[in-house]
Structure formats: structure tokens, C-alpha cells
């Protein structure tokens, strides 16, 4: 097992509110890591630290370090743009661009000045196929992405990330706005993507974490209470707090 991202002694605050207290975690390549915990425990904040999505808030402050393949993500000389391309993200609410299905997938390439129609066509098709969306949309690539269903939009967002050849995909509660059928499709897709991508998924749904992840981290009040193999966390956790949470005693 190869480690790909390593967070050490992460302390994060927004203004005077401390959100993460001394979190250290190692994420493995081509595995699915689930992050669970009650609302407000800092799990989304942690995820968003990994590709520096919190940078857009003025009062965001981070101490400690995150390394991606050995490079410090928060170093001054880090190319944030290139880093974000390699660590992609899928959000809670599907957020396609208000343009066509085709342009949604092509956007990530266009901003790298790749405008060759042949290359774009190829990447769009390959990405949509990988995201299990191709068959549903191949006849209407020019249609507005906003007319797709919620589940289709979310798969389009995944295709968009695949198109720029991300190595890691961060999922921030990707199914919380979807119905059970769509959720199922996304879960199957995530399991399929595991072959080539490292996946980190924040979820409220403990069954989801149990079903799809290899590793699980349990956050509580800004601390990583326990981290380990999913089976271990759900069946034989060391900490009482973890046992109570996965049993559904609080949350």
C-alpha cells in the first residue's frame, strides 16, 4: 500500500473559531477512505483543506502540513492551480456549469488551452463513459447540463473531474441531495473508479461508508477520534465514542 496524501498536526481555524484540532491522517493510493462524524465535526473542512478550497475564505488559517506525493500542498511555491487539477473535487450539491453537457466536461481542458476539437471529443467521450453517463447523454451532448436529473448532474461533475486527469477525487457528501437509485449509481461508480483513482469521501450515511470504503476516519468536535480499516472501525473500534457513533447512539 502506497501513501499518497499525508496530513500532519493539522490545526485549522476560521477567525476565532477553531475547527480542526491537531488532525493527522495518512491516505492510501487507489483506496476509498470515508470520513464520518456528526454535523459540525470538521469533516468537510478537513476535506477542503486537501486541495486548498478553503483558501477563498479571508479568515481561514491553517497550521501543520499536508503533503501530496511528498510535496507540501501549503508551501509558498506550490502551484495551486496544478495541484487542484490533480486533486479534484465533487460537491454536495451537483454544480454543473450553466452550459452544455459537452462544454461542462471540456471546460477543464479549455482552461489549459487545449481546444483541439479531436482531442476534446475524445476526452469528453472517454470521461462520460468512465462516469457511466455516456449512454444516457450521447445523443444530446449539446443540451444544457442543467436539464439533467440530480443524479446525472452529479455523474457529470465526476466526468468533469476525470477529464482533467485527476489522481485524487474528493467527494463532499456527494449523495446527500440524491434519491436512493441515484445514490446507488454513484456508489457503484465510486467503487469502479477506485481502480485508478484515490478517493476520499465525506459522508453522513454510515451505511454508505461501510459499503464502499476501505478505510474510515471518525471525526468528533474537530478531532480525529479514530482512523483505521473500515471493518475494524465498524465492528471492533478501540474508542467508546466511535462505537457509540457507528451504532447510531448519537449523531
Amino acid at each position: 500500500m502506497q501513501k499518497i496524501i499525508e496530513a500532519s498536526n493539522l490545526r485549522v481555524s476560521f477567525g476565532k473559531t477553531q475547527v480542526l484540532k491537531n488532525v493527522s491522517m495518512t491516505l492510501h493510493k487507489d483506496k476509498i477512505t470515508a470520513i464520518i462524524g456528526p454535523s459540525g465535526c470538521g469533516k468537510s473542512t478537513f476535506l477542503r483543506c486537501l486541495n486548498r478550497m478553503n483558501d477563498m475564505y479571508d479568515n481561514f488559517k491553517l497550521e501543520g502540513a499536508i503533503s501530496f506525493k511528498g510535496d507540501n500542498v501549503y508551501a509558498k511555491e506550490t502551484d495551486v492551480i496544478e495541484m487542484r487539477r490533480r486533486i479534484g473535487m465533487v460537491f454536495q450539491k451537483p454544480n454543473p456549469f450553466p452550459s452544455s453537457i459537452y462544454e461542462n466536461v471540456a471546460f477543464g481542458l479549455r482552461i489549459q488551452n487545449i481546444n483541439d476539437k479531436k482531442i476534446l471529443d475524445e476526452v469528453v467521450e472517454r470521461s462520460l463513459k468512465k462516469a457511466a453517463l455516456w449512454d444516457e447523454v450521447k445523443d444530446r451532448l449539446g443540451n444544457s447540463a442543467l436539464r439533467l436529473s440530480g443524479g446525472q448532474q452529479q455523474r457529470l461533475c465526476i466526468a468533469r473531474t476525470i477529464a482533467v486527469e485527476s489522481e485524487v477525487i474528493l467527494f463532499d457528501e456527494p449523495c446527500s441531495a440524491l434519491d436512493p437509485t441515484s445514490t446507488r449509481k454513484i456508489e457503484d461508480l465510486i467503487l469502479e473508479l477506485k481502480k485508478h483513482y484515490t478517493i476520499i469521501i465525506v459522508t453522513h450515511n454510515m451505511h454508505q461508508a461501510k459499503r464502499i470504503s476501505d478505510f474510515t476516519g471518525f471525526f468528533h468536535l474537530g478531532e480525529l477520534v479514530e482512523f483505521g480499516e473500515t471493518k475494524k472501525i465498524f465492528e471492533d473500534a478501540k474508542e467508546k465514542l466511535t462505537r457509540d457513533y457507528v451504532r447510531g447512539d448519537f449523531g
Partner: protein
Amino acid sequence: MKKSFLKKLSRNEMNDRIFSVVGLLATLLGVGVFLVLLADVAMDGLKRLNWSFLTSFPSRNPFDAGILSAWVGTVWLMAVTGAIAIPLGIMAGIYLEEYGKRNKLAGFIEVNIANLAGIPSIIYGLLGLGLFVRFLDLGRSVLAGGATLALLILPIIILATREALRAVPVSLREASFALGATKWQTLKYQILPAAFPGILTGIILAMSRAIGESAPLIMIGALAYIAFLPQQLSDPFTALPIQIFNWVSRPQHEFAVNAAAGILVLLFITLMMNGLAIWLRYRFEKKVRW
């Protein structure tokens, strides 16, 4: 129990009805006053409105007088005002909203811009007189007039741009950033197109305000009687509101009729601008929707 339940419901329904009636009356009052004014002006002015009225220079004889120099002057003014205020306003709005740091200075600037939008226009006229006409020695020219009106509407455009940018969902920014787009790419390809209808509405509202202003123009010394058309930016000018004001203040009834006709032309231009804004906004909103 059941009785009191019914009673409460009907009282709420009553409030509902009262509110909708009051709201309707308020709306009708606004629209009604406008329609009465329009009808009054139209009755006076329509009979004077003809081709020679639009193509004649002002004259001592009310039947020969026309508004050629006035409406051409207004078109010149709007072009100069727009050319100065639109790019400056949009750029300032983008800077303040997207790039400026949130600190005390930013807060200070923000409060001041909001205040500037509410300052009486005659004060801008004084500023224009001191700054453009005297200090920069532009004289009573189209350029000085346009620059003065540009100052007047600049805060409106800045505020509208900021509002429009702020109304774009955060999720759109996040989507773009997460794919490795730079801030400028995100702005250019996602945020600005999405904010464009809002910015456009702000611009047209601002221009509609500028087109009706007479006080600042009188302040910088725009003339009412001009028997030639401005050929360049340094030429003197007149504008529709000034011509109308001039005619209204004459004792002869015939000039009042001319003023009414002039008002109709001004209203027509303003309505056309608003119509254009609505049409453009509709076209862009059809493309951008979430």
C-alpha cells in the same frame, strides 16, 4: 376547539386579502400617476411632434423651433458618459468584489460609494464645474458634460456590478476552482457571464438616470440655444432636459407645447433603452439559469 381553529384561519385569510388589496392599490397609484402624466403630456405634445420638429434647430419662433441640437447633444452625452462610466464602473466593481482585501479601508470605500450614489446631482454639477470645466480647462464641452454625468452614475454601476457578482452562487466558483481554473479564468468564463444580466440592468438604470439629468449640466454651463451640432468632444452642447427646461420657463403657451413634445421624445428614448435592457437580459438569462 374546532370553532376557534376556524376563526383563526379566517382572520389570517382576511389579513392576506387586506394585504393584497393594499398592495394592488399602491401599485395602481404609481402606475396611475405615470399614466395620467403621460396622457397629459401626450395631449399637449403629440400634435407638435413631426419630422421638422426633430430636424430643426431651436428658434425664437415656437412654430419653427425644433430639438435637433438637443437630441443630438443627448446622444453625444450618453456616448461620452457610457464610454467613461461603464468600463470604469465594471472594473471597479470587479476589483472591490473579487480582488480587494476585506479590511477597514475596503469597508470605508464601500460605505462611501454607497453614499455617493445618494448625493444630489447638483453637487456633481459643482464638482464638474470646478474639476472639468475650470481646472482641466475642458470648457463647457460635451466632454466636460459627459464626464460629469459619468461621475454621477459611476457609484450606481459599481454597486450594481458588485450586487450581480455577489448573486452568482458560490458553487459555480468552487466548481471552476476545483478543476484548476485560475481566478481570472473563473471570472471570465463563469462568473461574469452569469453576472452579466444583472450588470447590464444596472448600467441601463444608471444611463436612464443620466439621460434625464439637467441640474448638473446647467451647473457646468451647458447652453440652451445652440444652432449647430457638436462635431467633436470639445464643442459646446445642449441636451433634451435643458431644452425642455428652457421652453417650460418661457411665458408663451406655444413653447409649453414644444416642451411637451420634447418630453415625449425623451421618454421614448428612455423607454427604448429600458426595452433594450429587458430584451438583452432575457436573452442572457435564457442561457444562464440554475
